[in-house]
Structure formats: structure tokens, C-alpha cells
Symmetry: C3
Subunit: 268 residues, 3 copies
């Protein structure tokens, strides 16, 4: 993979304005929609079980986020996921807080059984819990562990037959065979709610124009991380409120050249 | 209509602080509440079918937004709408994404059958779909069409017996007999989620002090558009995050003089 | 109580990063999460009745907000509250809009019967309605009254067996026996939606590290009010959008010294 792929994909998002159908939670819905708009994509947030399949059929990618999951939303996610599979558009799952409660863990497992999922993005604890490995989790935040995250990601990708993205200090992206590490990003992202959720939606946007591929995920993560780095450089002394706003600005302003010059990734 | 009507109405909102009851969606609820507060109105967001009628009875206008509609919300909207009709306060409907799914289209039609609606604000595709005309729609975003928007708006207003506001590059406001065009606004509004939804709520605020009239809608749209123009002039180079914040600022700061001097509307 | 308690508690929040479980409403969920993150705490927002008890068991405080209450959320609040009582973590209730509808009033009363609540924060009208006193309420906003707020707060604390915090121009904090007045804060807080709701969550954060005590509540209110004062000094001419962002910044930046030097409270 070369760095021009990322800049080609961001241009394609801005030209094509792909429609990204999100079934997401009350905490991050607004931030996700504004982030996707800034990037150049179009968000839609329908979540009623009666209509989601029809909405998904009009979309270019589907992003399922389990942040404030309930039974109605789970039903909607399964309906939408099946519609996405029929249409052949990319499906991203963000298993927020899986492992924190039995309901979340079982719901995630049911979703993965009934829907063919292309990308799963979470922190190490969420991914571990998804495949039944013990890993400390606290609320929807990751715990610490001595485990080897790259091994975890590869094993999860093989078991779940999906591209797995484990985000943290550095990000691991793997389909089980090929693995990339991405080193872009900034710690201020952890001080703003929904930055992981929006990243999952951004992966959906890149996949909608770049196909189900490791490259699309690497492009999404480097672009996102670089936007955060630029925003942090401008606002780090001001605080997380200002960073959040500047990060949305940078998702709109980031140029293909900035992406090519600042991408930090490595194929293992 | 003269330009002083708008400035009189904004003063009246700031003095009376009308209570605007919104049944709205998870994406825009926060932005809508902050926009109404900035303008000088008071928002309330109750949506449980058990309580909405009672809440509406305490309000000065009702705004029904179909953004993340579900069956419970539809029931609540009908209960609230009937209470608003009994009390005689203005009812605004924002038929977000109507035409995108059968559920939305049928729900909107049911709502319009059971509730007397005074204002309907949407893009051209939503308004067309509401009256059963084919018009390309993509998610909750408008498609393009060669159709004549003014004719569409007039026909819809006559058929739906309501004041119809079709927003786009320029905005059409008509009760089927008299028609105004408003030319205020800024393209950056399309880069922030919920700006159409907040506009519908602002129409409710102006109607709560100005009555069910074309004038109230024209005043709402010019005020809103001018606030966007001022905000864009201050932030266009910074990005949509900064614009969103500055737009809220300007809804609070905009003066009657600014409104009178910058209003761009025409009676056809 | 001396001023160093507040600065000790803010340090403890930043070190321990307590997990605050919020069952809250669609309007303020994002702002609440970002405010808690800025302060140094960790938010979690699960609200499905099936999982909330398990999530609460992992948390350090529980905050129940009735802003957009429905039957499912009420069930979840009761489940969570019982789990919090079993575990012995602080429970904060924010009875948003109680008195505005029968459903809210009855739901709040049921919640207080079934759950042992440690802190109740509301405006004067909400607190009055909670104990069956007539007090003008308009939507979720407080009305005016000639009533004596300090007497109201004391009587409510005795009747409800909880620490009652009545916020307004000055804030009253009482367990029925001992009473504090806090005079920090800024009127711009009333121009941003959810500032009362976030304050309730911040009381939860302070109580999670400072125990169920008047001191924890006083520390929360002075810290919050001082952050608002600093933010207002920086943004008052810009408008409520800028204030909202700067307030989040200041929750992250506020130093123990600033808190000690600017606390304005009095024991009656």
C-alpha cells in the first residue's frame, strides 16, 4: 500500500458524497453526523426496525454502533445488516462496551452470527471479549492488559472472518493474514466522547469508496489521526472543548498532501 | 410585509421567552435546544406518549420532527398534535426523509390526517414525496430535480392546507395563494447536521409570538439566514465546527437592525 | 468545611477517573459525557433495562436524569438504582421537569420509593413539586415564586431523606440539618442546554470520590460555578456557543488553586 491511496480515497469521498447509514447511540449521534458531513460524506441515522432495511438499501455503507443498545436497536441492526449484505455494501460494527454486560456480549455475538460483517473496530478489551477472551473492561472504556494486541487482533480476525481494527496508543489493522500498524492520532481524542464511534463511521465512508480492503481501513485511520494531530497542535493549550471543534474543522480541511506527508503506517 | 415585522418578532421572542415543545430526533436534540435558547425561546423535549399532551398544553408552539421516527414517537406526535390543536397553538412539521422509506411516508401521511398542521418545512424532495409526487430522494438529503419548486410548494400548500416552506438555494414560503421567496442563508448550513431541523423549531418560535402567518415564517427564515451569513463571514476559513458554534452565537447576538438591513425577501 | 476539600476532591477525580453511570436524556447525553471526561471522570450511558444493573455494578456513582423519560427508562432507573444501593455507591437524581406532567411527577415519586437516593438536584419548582407543594413550573424551566427556597430545601431534604440541592441565582445545599449556600456560577449557564443535568453528573463524580456528604456537593457546585465564571469572563461577548465550548475547556483546566481562591460558599 502506498500513501497515495489515502489521498485518492478522501478525494473520492468528497466527490461522491457516499451515504452512510448509522444505527448509533444517543451520546454520539450528533458528533458522528457532523464528522461525516465535515469529511464530505452524508450521514443518515434511521433506527426504527420497520424502515432500516429500506434505508440501508439506499446507502453506500452501514455502521452499527452498540453504545446505547436496546432490543429494538438490535432488531434494527440485524434487519439493516441483512439488507447491507444483500446489496453488497460494507458493514462496520463498533462493539461499544462488549464484555461490560452479558446483554452486550450476547447481542454482539448474535449480530455477528446473523450478519456478515466486514470491519470490526474496538479497543483491545472489546475485541477480546467479543471472542470470549478474558480482558479487563470498565464501563465502555478499555482496561489495561499485558496481552499482545497484535496477536489478539489476528486471532479475532481469523475467528470472526472480518477485518479487525484494534485502536489504542497505536492501531492494529488486520484481516488475519496481513497486518498494518498505524501510528497517527493524538491522546486528546480520548478526552472527547464519541471519537472512537466517529472513527468507525469514517471507516465506513472510506470503505464505501475504497471497497472492503485493508487499504480503506488504513486510509481511514491515518486520515483521522492526522486530522487529530493538526487539531491538537492548534488547540492543545485551550482544552478538549476547543479540540473537539477544531477536529471537525480539520476533517473538512485536511488535504491529500497533508495526508500523504504525515501518514505513519507500517506493514508487518 | 415590511422588514420591521421581523425585528418586532425577534424582540417579542426575547421578551416573552415562548416555550417550544419539540418531539425530535437523537441527532439534533441538543443543537435544537441550544439554538432555541440562543434565540431567546425556551425548549422542552418530552416525547413519552403518556405525557406529551400535557406538556404541549403548557407550550406556545409544537414542533414535530421525523428524523429518527419510531412507532412510540409517532404516537406521541399525534397525541401532542391533537393537544396543540385543542389549545390553538401553532404546529410545525419537519418531515425529515419522507420518501426515503415507506414507514416515513405513511407515518407523515397519518400525522397530517390526524393533526391540523400549520407549517410544513422540508426540502423539495420531502415536500414532493409528502404529496405523492415522484422526486429523487437519497437518505434524508434532497436529490436534484428539474421540477419547478415554486409550483410544487403552492400545490402542496393547497393540497395540505398548510403554509409550506421549501428550503434550498433560495427558500419558498407559500400558503397556496401568496408566495414569498427568501434569499438569506449560506451554503455552510448544509455542512452542519440539524440546521434544517433547528430552522423548523425557529419557525415555531416566531409563530408562537407572530401567529400562524406567512409573515412569521418569512421573519424566521430571514433571521436564521442572516445569522448564518454573519457566522459564515467570521468562520468560513476555519471550517464547519467553528461555523456551528458561531451560528449559535449569532442567533443570540443578532440585532433587529441587522435583520432589517440584511433581509432579502420578495413577494411574488 | 474548608476550601481545601474541593481541591482535594478534584485531584482525586483526576487520579482515580471514577466511572459515572448516567441514565439520561437525548438532549444532554453528549454534553454530559464530554463534561465528565473534561473533569477527569469516565462516563457510561447504558440504559437498556436488561443490562443497566450490571453496568451500575461496575460504576462508582449512578446519575438518574428524567429529561426525556419514558417507561423503559423508568424501569432501567429503578433496576440501576437498586444495584447502586446494593453496591453502596452514591445515587444522584435530577428530576427534570417534575410537576410539568403527571407522568413525570408519579415516575419521580415511584423512583424515590423504590430506590434510596443520596442527592436530588433541581430548581425550586422541581423540588417543590417533588414533595407535593404547588409551585409554578413551565416546561422543564423553573417558574418564579415568593417562597423561601432555603426552607423549601430543608423541608424537602427531611421529607425525602436525601441531600437536596436547589440551584438558582444562588444554590442551596442541605441535608435538612446543615445547610450551605454556594454563590459561584454565571447566568450564561442558563443559555446552554444541559448545564443543570451536567451539574448533577458532576455531583455524582465528586460523591464517588468524596462520599455521600454535603462537602462533596459543595465542592461540586463551587468547582462547576468557578469553571463557568472563568469561561464567561473569556467568552461573554462572543455568545453562548463559545461559552459552551470554553466551559468544557475550563472543566479540564481548572486548578485546585483556582478553586480554593474563588470558592464562594457559606454555612448557615
Amino acid at each position: 500500500m502506498n500513501k497515495e491511496i489515502s489521498s485518492k480515497l478522501i478525494n473520492k469521498i468528497r466527490e461522491n458524497k457516499p451515504l452512510i447509514h448509522n444505527i448509533t447511540n444517543i451520546v454520539v449521534a450528533n458528533f458522528t453526523a457532523n464528522g461525516l458531513l465535515a469529511l464530505g460524506a452524508k450521514p443518515v441515522m434511521a433506527s426504527a426496525p420497520e424502515e432500516v432495511a429500506e434505508m440501508t438499501k439506499a446507502a453506500n455503507a452501514l455502521v452499527l454502533n452498540m453504545g446505547t443498545l436496546n432490543r429494538e436497536h438490535l432488531k434494527a441492526m440485524i434487519n439493516s445488516g441483512k439488507a447491507a449484505n444483500e446489496k453488497g455494501i460494507p458493514v462496520v460494527v463498533d462493539p461499544v462496551g462488549v464484555g461490560a454486560t452479558q446483554f452486550r456480549t450476547e447481542s454482539a455475538q448474535q449480530l455477528l452470527r446473523e450478519v456478515k460483517v466486514n470491519f470490526i473496530r474496538g479497543n483491545a478489551a472489546e475485541i477480546a471479549n467479543l471472542i470470549g477472551q478474558a480482558w479487563e473492561i470498565r464501563g465502555v472504556e478499555t482496561g489495561k492488559s499485558g496481552g499482545n494486541i497484535i496477536d489478539l487482533a489476528r486471532f479475532a480476525a481469523q475467528k470472526l472472518q472480518a477485518t479487525v481494527i484494534v485502536t489504542g496508543k497505536e492501531d492494529t489493522i488486520t484481516d488475519g493474514a496481513t497486518t498494518f500498524l498505524v501510528r497517527n492520532g493524538h491522546p486528546l481524542l480520548t478526552k472527547v466522547t464519541g471519537t472512537g464511534c466517529l472513527l468507525s463511521a469514517v471507516i465506513g465512508a472510506f470503505a464505501s469508496v475504497g471497497g472492503v480492503s485493508l487499504q480503506a481501513a488504513v486510509a481511514a485511520l491515518t486520515t483521522y489521526g492526522i486530522a487529530a494531530e493538526i487539531a491538537a497542535a492548534k488547540t492543545a493549550e485551550l482544552g478538549p472543548g476547543s479540540f473537539q471543534i477544531e477536529f471537525i474543522n480539520q476533517l473538512a480541511l485536511i488535504s491529500p498532501t497533508q495526508i500523504e506527508q504525515n501518514s505513519q503506517f507500517e506493514r508487518l
